[in-house]
Point group: C2
Amino acid sequence: MDRPYSIQQLAQEFDLTPRALRFYEDKGLIAPARRGTTRLYSDRDRTRLRLALRGKRLGFSLEECREIIDLYDPGQPGGARQLLRLCDKIREHRAQLLQKLRDIEATLGTMGEVEAKCLAELLKIDLNVRRVSQ
Amino acid sequence: MDRPYSIQQLAQEFDLTPRALRFYEDKGLIAPARRGTTRLYSDRDRTRLRLALRGKRLGFSLEECREIIDLYDPGQPGGARQLLRLCDKIREHRAQLLQKLRDIEATLGTMGEVEAKCLAELLKIDLNVRRVSQ
DNA sequence: GTTACAGTTGACGTATACGTCAACTAAGGA
DNA sequence: TCCTTAGTTGACGTATACGTCAACTGTAAC
């Protein structure tokens, strides 16, 4: 279950280019193993990539994505000081996410109203057409 | 209630620079009136700006923000063809928003788990400290 | 062995979203 | 009238996130 992926396989699966994957590696988002010079992507890399793209869709920069991923995928638990910093970062990112949540809800709300007006307008036009064509 | 805002006032209110406001104008997000060469921002400009920044926070490009804003702030109702295109765009943007919503929920979920583990770890450390210091 | 092909490392190019600076202007106060 | 201040238009610079191409390498199949 742990056979490695080639860069092309991973790129296809996530609809990216090899260039993008190498770029993400450069930014510390993933760190695939190597056989010679060739990159071998593990399931862990795949998971980190999935999280990174999730962050991207939410408008986080790659740097922020790396931060978030490293929260989820920590090496060692670390000491109390580290853990407190981790909790702080979590709270910070959560605040941002909740803001985005409010933004989405507001947008969906207005969008619904606009759609309703739009449909009402279309209905009026349709009624006119039927009236004239009779 | 409709006194115009200077570029500095608007910039301060939204924590932007005048340069950013002029850039947004260049991209068609806002179109302030002029007294001579000086820009005068109306409440409508203010509203469009608010919507634009909301879009930005959600990771939309300025171009996409313009599209979204123009959905909300249409000039004339337009014919049936226009209205149908409008509905299509609404559905498209709604799909993107719902995807972001799922992404946020997933992220918040994992974040909660990580935080719980983190707090548990801190508690363990704290207990050890108390035990040793007695 | 060699041919084909996937992969690698630079290096430069590009789109987006502004920052920064220079040079000019228009308006209001001493 | 002169000076200060806010605003204007270029123009170039910069960070992010890759695209693109060139030149090389390693590996697998024949």
